[in-house]
């Protein structure tokens, strides 16, 4: 187990390193940040001073090492636009995004698993067919367009829910949370559902596929033969065994939710990290772009790591296979 975890940790560190090289190389070498920072009428001397002060005269590997050194201390540079630490800007926006992603995950799981199990157990009923057809729609509909349609229907035509922004928040341990106020909830409902749709379809499909496979296993037959109630068979024996793929997805897709919230946040003007990224790209605010990307890379690698370890705890076969190779 320890060897497995150590090996995974090393692998994760390597991925972060490679990604940092790619992101740094991509953002810093393509295009010229000086062009944007220096005024149009700056002369050559001013230009060179700027280049020197930013360390852009150094060879690539030195620039990169400097970037890594600063990044390890949590310093990703200052935003060109806000004149503020890029990490700070991201940290400020993070609660809004995470709150939205958690809400979406919650919706996807709480609705998705029961619907999926139902569709798996009663494969031929018309309700199951409706559920499965809707899940195909959930996969194919572009998130942003569904979001626009939700705004059109619920906000513009019906006027039931607000169309944008975050609403009132309550501070819990210094972190603003909008789940706890009625206004915040009403602002959150549309974006959370919008963000959840894709994952919901996925959870439904996974739960259904898992159920259909598990139902025919011997231990389910045995449980039935023992005379256990349906509730217990489904709630314990079946549920436990379909959870392995679902846990993977929950873990892996949380990162996906954070990434996809870029779209939802733009549609609903939700003040999170994703919106910050899009704004930064439009303003060519490189430090913020790099900081956001590195943050998401680290987040992803951590999630993958946790899921891998959890997975090996839930299913020892994974661990053993890894040991052999």
């Amino acid at each position: 187990m320890t060897v497995f975890v150590i090996r995974r940790l090393l692998q994760a560190a390597l991925v972060v390193l490679i990604m940092s090289l790619l992101v740094f190389g991509g953002v810093f070498l393509v295009g010229d940040p000086v062009e944007m920072l220096v005024a149009d009428d700056a002369d050559q001397a001013e230009r060179e001073m700027m280049i020197k002060s930013m360390g852009l005269d150094l060879p690539f590997y030195l620039q990169y090492l400097r970037f890594i050194g600063n990044a390890l201390q949590g310093d990703m540079g200052n935003s060109f636009v806000f004149q503020e630490s890029a990490m700070h800007l991201i940290a400020e926006r993070m609660p809004a995004t995470f709150e939205l992603a958690f809400a979406a995950l919650f919706i996807a799981v709480v609705l998705g698993i029961p619907l999926g199990i139902y569709a798996g157990l009663n494969a031929n009923s018309w309700i199951s067919k409706t559920i499965m057809t809707s899940s195909i729609l959930g996969f194919s509909l572009p998130t942003f367009w569904v979001g626009i349609m939700m705004i059109l229907f619920f906000a513009v035509i019906m006027g039931w829910l607000p169309s944008s922004g975050r609403g009132d928040t309550v501070n819990v341990f210094g972190i603003p949370i909008s789940l706890l106020t009625l206004d915040g909830l009403s602002h959150m409902l549309l974006p959370a559902v919008n963000l959840a749709l894709f994952k919901l379809s996925m959870v439904i499909r996974l739960a259904r596929a898992g159920t259909r496979e598990v139902v025919h296993q011997d231990y389910i037959k045995f449980a039935r033969a023992k005379g256990l109630s349906d509730t217990r068979i489904i709630g314990v024996h079946l549920f436990k065994n379909i959870m392995i793929p679902v846990v993977t997805v929950l873990g892996l897709e949380f990162g996906g939710l954070v990434a996809f919230s870029v779209v939802t946040e733009t549609v609903f003007a939700w003040p999170g990290m994703g919106k910050l990224l899009i704004d930064s790209i439009n303003f060519l605010d490189r430090p913020v772009i790099v900081a956001y990307l590195m943050f998401v890379v680290v987040l992803f690698v951590c999630i993958n790591l946790i899921v891998d370890v959890l997975y090996s705890v839930l299913d020892p076969r994974v661990r053993l296979q890894e040991m052999k190779s």
């Binding site: 991925v15 490679i18 992101v23 991509g26 953002v27 393509v30 295009g31 195909i136 729609l137 996969f139 194919s140 509909l141 572009p142 998130t143 942003f144 367009w145 626009i148 349609m149 705004i151 059109l152 513009v156 169309s163 892996l252 990162g255 996906g256 990434a259 996809f260 870029v262 779209v263 733009t266 549609v267 990224l277 899009i278 790209i281 439009n282 772009i289 990307l293 998401v296 890379v297 992803f300 993958n304």
Partner: protein, 311 residues
């Protein structure tokens, strides 16, 4: 090695039977596919969409790029109103006075072109790498598949965002970004089936005949890996179109001068609060129709081509 000899080795005798009603695999495949009415509808719709895109300039009532005929006077007309030029704008006009029907047809051309174009390039790259990984195994396999694994652990939209944030705007750039996003799916799919095929006797036979490696890989292994590849390719084109629309909506993909369906939706978004729904809704429906019908076809292909589900 001549083609004739090779043909004989593959059992070329079967090909000389040109009987009228022989059940060839292809005919069986077509018959299987046609059993599902919804899938047939999907296929017909996809053909229709492609035709509209191909002959767009001939069908479109006006040319939305022709600055001489587009006037700002016509802006934001509701569906059914008449434009200054006398043409009725069936689905209204957008904020710049372009007829929505025409703008959508031209947008569809770009959306489909980007989706299919990037799909083909990604297919070529992905298949080559995937086949090589499976055929050569060992270090080549490990390196290629590690890269694939790492890339697939990040969501497509994020990879595309990174690339477009650095590359900038343009049709070529968005195609490049979509290729990078997609190739790994093809590589993984083709490697999966190629690993199975690699151990079959006919590969051994082809190798023993002294055929060159590229020939064995592309002429013998590849055709047998096609079924799952066709399914993935269909789904990926739909996915690419959707992703392009999303990126354009975020303002990252295409320049404003070449509006795809996604960009049209984005342009309409600002008017939606004032109730001018048609600028956003109709391009969205066109996008939806395209994506859903392609997915219908892909879904059916998956069922028909899956040997496990065959009777």
């Amino acid at each position: 090695m001549s083609a004739v000899q090779e043909n004989a080795a593959n059992g070329g005798a079967g090909q000389s039977q040109s009987a009228v009603e022989v059940e060839t695999p292809f005919r069986r495949f077509v018959a299987d596919y046609m059993e599902n009415k919804i899938a047939v509808f999907g296929l017909v719709s996809v053909f229709l969409v492609v035709l509209i895109a191909l002959f767009g300039p001939l069908i479109a009532p006006t040319d939305p790029y022709d600055l001489a005929s587009v006037t700002f006077m016509d802006n934001k007309l509701a569906p059914g109103e008449q434009m200054g030029s006398g043409v009725t704008a069936l689905l209204g006009t957008d904020g710049l006075g372009r007829d929505m029907v025409s703008a959508m047809i031209y947008g569809l051309r770009i959306s489909l072109g980007v989706g299919i174009g990037s799909g083909i390039i990604a297919l070529l790259i992905g298949v080559t790498f995937g086949l090589c990984a499976a055929y050569f195994g060992g270090k080549v396999d490990t390196v290629i598949m590690r890269i694939v694994d790492i890339q697939l652990s990040f969501p497509a939209i994020l990879v595309a965002l990174v690339l477009l944030a650095t590359l900038g705007k343009g049709v070529d750039k968005i195609i490049a970004a979509l290729v990078v996003v997609q190739w790994a799916y093809y590589a993984r799919t083709v490697r999966g089936s190629a690993l199975v095929e690699r151990r079959r006797e006919y590969i051994e036979a082809a190798t023993c005949l002294g055929l060159s490696k590229p020939r064995v890989i592309f002429r013998h292994m590849l055709p047998n890996c096609l079924p799952p590849l066709i399914v993935v390719a269909t789904m990926q084109v739909a996915h690419a179109i959707s992703l392009e629309a999303t990126l354009s909506f975020l303002g990252l993909g295409l320049p404003v001068t070449e509006p795809s369906l996604g960009l049209l939706i984005a342009n309409g978004f600002e008017y939606i609060m004032s109730g001018m729904y048609w600028i956003s809704v109709y391009p969205g429906l066109a996008l939806l129709f395209t994506i859903v019908t392609i997915n219908l076809v892909g879904d059916r292909l998956r069922d028909v081509l899956n040997p496990r589900l065959q009777k």
